[in-house]
Symmetry: C2
Subunit: 217 residues, 2 copies
């Protein structure tokens, strides 16, 4: 690639993390530009030009400004050779996309930082955030565990890493932050353990990012 | 198709509506099995076997049990001839998927019925629901209008109906229910008006469904 690839990212944003894993699998070198979500940098006028939803990630590549993690991953998979993050067979592709969407639209949006912050304002009680997050992740993981019990091999769908795994690992990290009882989810837990050993997942881990605070490394 | 196609659907569920439009574009005949969300039928043990997320739609087709609207639409587009709901060019496909995801993961999950019901319980104030829904749709439509101002032709991306339009029309319907100020969104409004004139969108409209109450027709 002649053009420089730039990823606007936050070290523990789920959606940024998914895209970082995809970039690692595709062997794409990129510059990370950190956007500090807790300091609300994503709402600043400068960043909003990259991402009008005020979310991370934004990926600049091929002269395009890409946002929304799953469409970014599909784009990378369609335009790059090498490791394929979606299988060839339509029914298998469906299973990958379904698992990814249970997380991407069914769980993460309801427990993300901006919703939790707004919830605390509406209720006037910051303590509602933890219970709310735990509740929605639990609902979603109940369904995800059910679906994965018939699709999973070593990884979420069969024995090859797919886009479903890219969604899974950051969501398990969030589940642990929200103290979800992971003992209820043996398939999810087993697949997560298998993924996090892989070099592409290690490279994308929050602790490996330039904006990760030293005390969390 | 030798096997009968069955869609578990609720007449004004956004996700069901998207899939109904896709089925109309693909010319697939199907039986509708209504699931009454306000009566909480989606949480019953019988329906949960179809959809462990307790959501509509579920589509039974090709011997598969399909859930999650965008993966269902991608599956239909990959396995059926005829009208293509995603364009061929990867950059155009990306644009379609991005617009669909701004709605599918960025707006709809935060204002859907189950989240609003839980919000009312947490706040102890049912009046919070309308303002919450309006606020999140407005945030999302601000971004969607910005993106569509550079992608839209007659429809959301160029001059052909795509998966982005299937997501757009039900979300505009919700925006109107939540009394969002649509005058701020000329591109969204124009594309919506163009779509709802089309026979495939008319066939999928809530008022054309067997579970639509007579007083709403």
């Amino acid at each position: 690639m002649a053009d420089e690839v730039v990823l606007h990212s936050y070290f523990r944003s789920s959606a940024s993390w998914r895209v970082r894993i995809a970039l690692a699998y595709k062997g794409i070198q990129y510059e990370t530009k950190p956007v500090h979500l807790v300091k609300a940098e994503q709402k600043g006028a400068e960043y909003k030009e990259h991402n009008p939803m005020c979310q991370v990630p934004t990926l600049h590549i091929d002269g395009l400004r890409l946002t929304q993690s799953l469409p970014i991953i599909e784009y990378l998979d369609e335009t790059r050779q090498g490791y394929k993050l979606l299988p060839e067979d339509p029914a298998q592709r469906f299973q990958v996309r379904r698992l990814a969407e249970i997380i991407n639209s069914g769980i993460q949006p309801v427990q993300n930082l901006s919703v939790l912050q707004r919830l605390a304002e509406v209720t006037g009680d910051a303590d509602t955030k933890a219970a709310w997050g735990r509740e929605w992740i639990t609902r979603g993981f109940d369904a995800l565990e059910f679906e994965m019990s018939s699709t999973a091999g070593v990884y979420s769908v069969g024995d090859s890493v797919s886009m479903a795994d890219l969604a899974l690992v950051p969501q398990v990290y969030n589940a642990n932050r929200f103290k979800v009882d992971m003992a209820k989810y043996p398939t999810i837990s087993r697949v997560n353990e298998a993924c996090i050993k892989l070099p592409e997942f290690k490279a994308a881990d929050p602790t490996a990012q330039p904006d990760c605070p030293d005390e969390l490394k």
